[in-house]
Symmetry: C3
Subunit: 269 residues, 3 copies
């Protein structure tokens, strides 16, 4: 039996997530599904990729992740099974696994999920999560060898999104963007701690200034309590990426920003 992490854009008002769990438990009654989020913006593969990357490391070895953000459902796009970091990941071939395949050496194995013997008897062209992916997950949870899912693939054969990471700009600054805004209005970027630390442009004399929504914040705090209520701050959030928050407030509203918007870090000057 395995712990099964679930990420979808299904929401939870409909039966879709529950049906995937029912199919999994019908095959492996000892599987333990764990909802990570079903509130990915419909078809937002980038948001799901970062959510997965922030989450998988908290699961024990042997866990299986099912990621169903699948705008191409019913078309020719493949379903993948990636093994990396001692965990398994089942997802459509649309780039949602990109951050786990970087560097390419991180990939232990990669397969196409195309063995119809494992599918539900009738496959709906609009719900492969229930009829193809959930059974694959359940059989893996029950101990089936991943080789039974389908043929091995070369990582170069699958879709990888390559503009996910923040990048350094010419002046030693960093150009990133907003990849998620959480319930509290905290604004989560794709600027990771290593990138911040490695930049030699910043020093105690020239602290980083974070620019977003036409405003800026100077310096990076440790936690919300470092500023007064109602004041904005930048900090390295629980994902390990730069976040912008407002203590006891809502940074999304404070800065008037949206998912996908640019965030720049530049030396104060």
């Amino acid at each position: 039996m395995a712990i099964i992490g679930l990420i979808t854009d299904f929401g939870i008002q409909d039966e879709y997530v529950g049906l995937m769990k029912a199919v999994i438990l019908g095959i492996d009654p000892d599987a333990v599904p764990v909802d990570l989020s079903h509130a990915v913006e419909p078809q937002n593969v980038v948001q799901a990729a970062f959510l997965l990357e922030a989450s998988y490391r908290y699961f024990p070895p042997g866990s299986i992740h099912l990621i169903v953000v699948d705008p191409g459902v019913g078309t020719e796009r493949a379903v993948l099974c990636l093994e990396a970091n001692q965990q398994l990941f089942i997802a459509p071939d649309n780039g949602v696994l990109s951050l786990l395949m970087d560097p390419p050496g991180a990939v232990s194995s990669l397969r196409r999920v195309d063995n119809p013997a494992l599918w539900r008897p009738r496959v709906s062209p609009t719900f492969h999560g229930r009829d193809i992916m959930a059974p694959a997950v359940a059989h893996l949870s029950k101990g089936m060898d991943a080789r039974e899912l389908g043929p091995e693939l070369n990582p170069a054969e699958v879709r990888v999104l390559d503009d996910l990471h923040a990048r350094r700009s010419g002046d030693g600054g960093i150009q990133g963007r907003i990849v998620h805004i959480d319930r509290f209005g905290n604004v989560i970027t794709n600027i990771d701690l290593a990138l911040l630390q490695l930049s030699k442009a910043f020093s105690p004399d020239r602290p980083p200034a974070i620019h977003l929504g036409g405003q800026r914040i100077v310096g990076v705090c440790r936690t919300y309590g470092d500023v007064e209520a109602g004041r904005p701050l930048a900090l390295v959030g629980s994902r390990g990426y730069l976040e912008i928050a407002v203590r006891c407030g809502n940074a999304q509203r404070y800065f008037g920003v949206h998912q996908g918007d640019a965030v720049e870090v530049r030396p104060v000057g």
Copy 2:
């Protein structure tokens, strides 16, 4: 132990669903609750009936379903235990089980749940889900014979909603309605695949035209990818019923329709 499917109109912001699970697990710690939906419109028995009908077949034999959409809670309405399709269904006697009792031969047994020895010590007049139904489910999950729940009922004694199905109209067309709109804005009707296939009014020369919200769509596609982004389509959805969708868009907004609205299928002409 059993897998327990849960359908309610409780939402999940309150403690109500969690309390039912706590009561179930306190009696049978090995039970495995699976949330199907708690977002049924308050007191919308028809929506819940279709959601259940679309879902139960994905659960393994021996599963138990608890459906708490219960506008009559605290009044004289009975609580039922239906056995059908090798699964058990606990719900108030308000018609929510209608689609499982059709044809009547589908019913293996039907009982009134009225054995106070199984209830919580204090029964709240406003929360029978927690105090009467959850304990019944848990005892069944633990292996108790359904006969201990209460006396057998004749299917004719319980409330059955008889206007649930779409029906054929005089000209060979079909008159149905919208029974659910999902997170993506997909519009799900009560027109099932069999009804579509059986109608001799449609042919390659006279494909069906689906009318809703003052507009129409001609023909039935296989999957979203059959049309271009932003375009509407009709297809047989994952429930096995006619759905109207907009690829990468929202059909509810496109057509300006709501749950309960009429949908007609007529030969093009």
Copy 3:
């Protein structure tokens, strides 16, 4: 293994709740998490305190509750482990456990959770729920003695909120407030059944009148069905506290009230 009740203000659109479950299950794969609510208003400790008090008694002895409503995360506020009513409660020291420590004799033991050997290797200053509290819960679930969490505390050393309860006013009436509004718009107060029953100001001749939002309701009903559809009523709700509802309607909108607003009960006169 234990049943783990979860109350947070995290919402469920983000990965936060799922990560706490992953951490718990990574340590104790047999633990059974039960979501009570993740929709506490951000940082609303009073709402969470009442939600917990209404819920814990439905869990079996030996259950563990994790309550993460934690405006002070990352500051010097302690994390607590309370043993009361044969259950364990892990929460920040901010008053959220107040209703369980009243009377003080209800407390079996109280500890500070400060043993870093149990924490995640890296503790995020903004997510102690995942990195400190979830591991503590999991080790308890696995059978670890609570004494290993940290030193005993005197109840007088921790934060207790003392304006939670409704109180009697001079004329024999009761002054309370709204502590929760549920999905149905039912308005839940902090006026408990005992307080209502004990007041000698009320009698069949002088029934209680409930005042809220500039309007009033006379008398206390048993269940929703006691009035006609669309009519307001007061009743003792499933929590055991006075609730105001509108049958087949929404009391919040009917009375135009909000969480925190005053509710008074006075003899009709």
